[in-house]
C-alpha cells in the first residue's frame, strides 16, 4: 500500500478505490459495445451491415454471445497442462486491465472537496509501467499456447514471442522521443507538456512508429500472425472455448483501448482541446474518449484494409525498417532537444 500511497499521495484511500471501480466498470461496459462497433464498421468496409438483428441496431449482440460462451462446456485437451491452461487467460486479462489504470482521462479535479485525479494512478514511471505489464501479458499468450499441448497453439505462441519482443523494442524507442521532449515520465505531466503543441506534430515519425508497433503489440491485423486463423486456426487460443476464449478476446480489446489511450496521451494531447479551448474539467474524459475512438476506428480501418504479413516480412520490417527508423528518430530528437 505504500507504493500506492506514494503514487497518489493527495488522495484518500477510498477515492482510489472508487476510481478503480468506476474505471473498471465503465471500460467493461464499453467493451461489448466496442465489439459490435468493430463488426459493424468492418461490415461497412465490406458493403454490408454487420450485426443488426439482436436488439436495437444489433447492440444486444454481445449479450447474446456472452450468454452463449458462458454456457459452453469447459473442457481441455488431454495433452494440456491443466493449471497453466486455466491461469493463462487470467494473466492475459489481468495485465491488460492493470495497464488500464494508467490512462489519464483528465486533470486533477475538485470533487466533493477532495482533490481527485481523473486517472487510475499517476505513477512516476509512466510508460515503463505499461511496458512492464505488456511484458507480463506475453506470458498469458505464451503459457496459454504452450499449456494447450497443441501444435497450432504452440506455433501461435512462438510467433507471439518473436513478434512481441521485436516490436516492443521499436515501440519503446518511439516513446523515448516523446519522453525526451516532455522531460517527464508521468503521463499527466506529458499531457500538460503538450499545452503548446501536441506531440504528434514534432514527433510525427515517432507517432507512426509507435502506431505501427502498437498494431503488432495488440496482435491486430495486419500483424495478427499470432492468431492467423487461416493457417493456425486461431493460434494460442485454438484450444480455448467458452470463458477462456472470451478472456483472451476481451484482453485483446482492452489492450486496444490501452494502446489507444496511451497514444492519445502521448501524441494527441490527452484531455487538451485544440485551438486554445478550455472546457470545464468534467468534459476532459469525453475529450479523451473521443480521441481514443479515433484510434480505435483507425485500428478497425487498418484491419479492413491490409492483408496479413508473411512471417519473414514481419521480422524484416520490424528489425530492418522500424527499428532503424525509431533509433534515428530518437537520435534526431535528442540532438534537437540538447541544442
Amino acid at each position: 500500500m505504500r507504493v500506492l500511497g506514494e503514487v497518489n499521495s493527495f488522495e484518500a484511500w477510498w477515492v482510489q478505490l472508487v476510481k478503480a471501480l468506476i474505471i473498471f466498470g465503465v471500460i467493461f461496459g464499453i467493451l461489448p459495445l466496442l465489439t459490435v462497433y468493430e463488426r459493424k464498421l468492418l461490415g461497412r468496409f465490406q458493403h454490408r451491415y454487420g450485426p443488426n438483428r439482436v436488439g436495437p441496431y444489433g447492440l444486444m449482440q454481445p449479450l447474446a454471445e456472452i450468454v452463449k460462451f458462458a454456457r459452453k462446456e469447459s473442457f481441455r485437451p488431454t495433452t494440456s497442462v491443466g493449471f497453466l491452461f486455466y491461469v493463462a487467460p487470467a494473466i492475459s486479462i489481468m495485465t491488460a486491465v492493470a495497464s488500464l489504470a494508467l490512462i489519464p482521462f483528465g486533470n486533477v479535479q475538485h470533487i466533493f472537496g477532495e482533490r481527485v485525479g481523473l486517472y487510475g494512478i499517476d505513477v512516476s514511471v509512466g510508460p515503463l509501467y505499461v511496458f512492464a505489464f505488456g511484458g507480463i501479458s506475453f506470458y498469458g499468450i505464451l503459457l496459454g499456447g504452450w499449456a494447450s499441448g497443441s501444435k497450432y497453439s504452440f506455433l501461435g505462441s512462438m510467433r507471439a514471442a518473436a513478434q512481441l519482443i521485436s516490436y516492443e523494442v521499436s515501440q519503446g524507442l518511439a516513446l523515448v522521443g516523446v519522453l525526451i521532449t516532455s522531460q517527464t515520465l508521468s503521463l499527466s505531466g506529458i499531457v500538460n507538456a503538450q499545452r503548446g503543441m501536441w506531440y504528434f506534430i514534432p514527433q510525427f515519425v515517432g507517432f507512426l512508429i509507435f502506431m505501427t508497433a502498437s498494431f503488432a503489440e495488440t496482435n491486430r491485423a495486419p500483424f495478427d500472425l499470432v492468431e492467423a486463423d487461416a493457417e493456425l486456426v486461431g493460434g494460442y487460443f485454438t484450444e480455448y472455448g467458452g470463458t477462456g476464449f472470451v478472456a483472451y478476446l476481451f484482453s485483446e480489446y482492452v489492450n486496444m483501448i490501452v494502446v489507444s489511450g496511451i497514444a492519445t496521451t502521448l501524441f494527441l494531447g490527452g484531455w487538451l482541446m485544440p485551438f486554445g479551448i478550455h472546457p470545464p474539467g468534467w468534459v476532459d474524459p469525453f475529450v479523451v474518449a473521443a480521441k481514443m475512438m479515433i484510434f480505435i476506428t483507425l485500428f478497425i480501418w487498418i484491419r479492413a484494409t491490409l492483408p496479413r504479413l508473411r512471417y519473414d516480412q514481419l521480422m524484416s520490417f520490424g528489425w530492418k525498417i522500424l527499428l532503424p527508423l525509431a533509433t534515428l528518430n530518437l537520435l534526431v530528437t535528442a540532438i534537437i532537444v540538447v541544442h
Partner: protein, 177 residues
C-alpha cells in the same frame, strides 16, 4: 517477318525495389492508398438485401411455385385431368386423379376434371415441363420461392392450395433492372 526470339522478351518484375526509401514508401504510402480504397467502400454504403424485410425481385419468367388457373369468365377450372403434366414431370412429383363432370356439378371446362391434383414440392425440381406439357395452360409456374416448411407432408400441395390466389410475396423485377 521471321520470328526473332531476341525481341520477344517480357521483363518480369519479381518484386518491388528493395531499398529503404522504396520500402518505407510502400509500407506507409501504399497503406494510405489502400485505406482510401476501403473508405470509398464505406461511402458507397451496404449492398445487402435485408432478406425477410426486403426481397430480391425475380424476373417475369422466374419459375417459382406452381399455380392452377380458372377461366376468368365462368370460374371453371382449366385443368381437365389429362395427366400430361404428370407424364412430363421428370421428378414424378405430380399426381392427378381424373373424374367425369356431370351436368349437375361442372367443375372444369372440359369433359373431365381433376378430382385430385397434388404436387409434391419437396420433389419438384422447378423445370417447368408441366407448364409446357399442359394443353390448356391450366398450370403455370408462379413467382413464389418461399416454400420452406417444417414437415414433408406440408409440402404436398393440393388442388385447393394451388388454385387459391397466392399471396404475392415476391416482388417482380422491373424492365431493365
Amino acid at each position: 517477318m521471321p520470328y526473332d526470339p531476341g525481341n520477344d522478351v517480357v521483363e518480369v518484375v519479381r518484386h518491388p525495389p528493395r531499398n529503404a526509401a522504396a520500402s518505407t514508401y510502400r509500407i506507409f504510402g501504399e497503406t494510405l492508398r489502400g485505406m482510401k480504397t476501403t473508405l470509398a467502400r464505406v461511402a458507397e454504403g451496404p449492398l445487402t438485401i435485408q432478406y425477410p424485410e426486403e426481397k430480391t425481385p425475380v424476373y417475369p419468367r422466374f419459375r417459382g411455385r406452381h399455380k392452377l388457373h380458372r377461366f376468368e369468365d365462368s370460374g371453371l377450372e382449366k385443368c381437365v385431368g389429362c395427366s400430361l403434366c404428370a407424364a412430363a414431370c421428370p421428378a414424378d412429383c405430380i399426381r392427378v386423379v381424373a373424374a367425369e363432370n356431370t351436368p349437375e356439378t361442372r367443375i372444369s371446362g372440359g369433359e373431365r376434371y381433376a378430382a385430385v391434383y397434388e404436387i409434391n414440392l419437396s420433389r419438384c425440381i422447378f423445370c417447368g415441363y408441366c407448364e409446357v406439357a399442359c394443353p390448356f395452360d391450366a398450370i403455370t409456374m408462379g413467382h413464389d420461392y418461399e416454400m420452406s416448411d417444417y414437415l414433408r407432408s406440408d409440402l404436398i400441395f393440393t388442388k385447393e392450395m394451388l388454385l387459391a390466389e397466392p399471396l404475392e410475396r415476391t416482388p417482380l423485377r422491373n424492365e431493365g433492372e
